[in-house]
Symmetry: C2
Subunit: 241 residues, 2 copies
DNA sequence: CTAACATTTTTCCAACTGGTCAAAAATCTT
DNA sequence: AAGATTTTTGACCAGTTGGAAAAATGTTAG
């Protein structure tokens, strides 16, 4: 239930103005540009900014969000924010690369040596929990996809593809062993993504359609139950015993 | 295969400046504001603009799109475009209301007196065809949802909800008759939406993951086959005969 | 304590954007 | 063909936005 804070990765090009100015000389001299460790305040403020940016970007999209908005949510002035992330794009980039790691994790956990249905079921659960606990990340991701994934297309084509290829092999093996219906492993994975993320990305619609009565907190439990039935048996009724 | 042109509905508040200026007097006098039929050019240009706007909005979102961009795609100047749609929002509004009609149609076709599996299967097919033939509309819709459906929330809460409620009853009846596995009809519908629209909204990802070999035109056929298996039998393997 | 460095604030600006307006051009009506 | 109406254009504007500069204020290592 408790949204464990996402870990912040990539300390790379965080340092701001100062560095930039130095770049002119440093880069020209092709020196290794001493990385200078981040100060406490830098780490804290960057986290605050990234959190605020997630809030704003996920709600309005990249172009629909202004630095002012993010700064306000982060509780600082615009120039101050720009001191930590000299470019709006930079914030977005950081957010996206953190996001991808978080996003791939659940699939990675699917173990080839486990029981197919147990593994698939818990994968679905994990994804559904992510939709419930990290809807903003899900929407940010969806937004990027809708736009054609301009910022992460190469990671999608390389890392994500590799991971899915690997897991597709696992699924195929299970099918070969007769433990799983023979079907397309890639589309199988797509369908898990689609059905689970739907509850984050189309949340308004889900709530509106379920109405006051069933649109409450229980909807994720219901979804989990339904999806289990779907992926396990489909819609074919049990023959009356 | 051929994307049948969407019909343009709602001739309502299309007329521009002239009307606007007149409004001052007309509205003040609370007269019925004679609607004055649209000219040929007006109809043509509005269609061109709406088509261009669909292209641009679906790719960049509302705030990410500029009137200039739309005007350029439409092959006219910005002021000229504004002559037909005095507000950027107006274009978007029109697009959204047309969209909703198109979007509800497939579900409406699900007949209570048909065979459950035939009906569900063809509903899935129709939705999949829409994802293939009208990806821009799908993305426009997804974008609106991501943003919390600000422009169509009431139609979602009223019309869409009513329709889904109705069809949920149909599904429940089928379940009562033992023709369909007993499960949650609402989430069943959600899962059909999610799995089919995924192929339009997350198209980049689907292509990238499938790779050059399988990401081509055949992917919709594969998806259709897979989804049929999923919804019919789930992933449980057939007992060896 | 203080010099060096890190952080924050104030002020400003150029580019972009949605939209206006008057006049010119094209089209339609009679 | 003339007059009326519709359509198109070019110049323009005010508000917003991303970002730069520099001065002012804090922080910290020696």
């Amino acid at each position: 239930m408790a949204p464990k804070k996402l870990k912040v990765a990539e300390p790379s090009q965080a340092q701001a103005k100062r560095q930039h100015k130095a770049d002119a000389k440093a880069a020209a001299a092709s020196s290794p540009a001493k990385p200078r460790p981040l100060t406490r305040i830098q780490r804290e403020k960057q986290d605050i900014i990234l959190e605020a940016a997630l809030e704003v970007f996920s709600a309005h999209g990249f172009r629909g969000s202004t630095i002012d908005q993010i700064a306000e949510v982060a509780g600082m002035s615009k120039p101050n924010l720009l001191y930590y992330f000299p470019k709006k794009e930079e914030i977005h980039r950081r957010l996206m690369s953190e996001l991808l790691v978080t996003w791939l994790a659940p699939l990675e956990e699917m173990r080839a040596d486990g029981d197919p249905f147990v593994e698939i079921r818990s994968y679905i659960r994990r994804k559904l929990e992510m939709a419930r606990d990290f809807p903003r990340q899900s929407r940010l991701f969806a937004n990027e996809m809708l736009r054609g994934a301009p910022h992460i297309i190469d990671m999608i084509e390389v890392d994500l593809k590799a991971l899915v290829d690997e897991k597709a092999q696992v699924l195929l093996a299970w099918m070969d062993q007769g433990k799983l219906a023979r079907t397309d492993p890639y589309h199988l994975i797509f369908s898990i993504w689609a059905t689970t993320q739907h509850y984050a990305d189309f949340d308004v619609q889900v709530r509106a359609v379920l109405g006051k009565g069933r649109g409450g907190e229980g909807r994720f439990e219901d979804a989990a139950r339904y999806l289990e039935q779907l992926f396990l048996h489909g819609l074919t009724p049990k023959p009356r015993a």
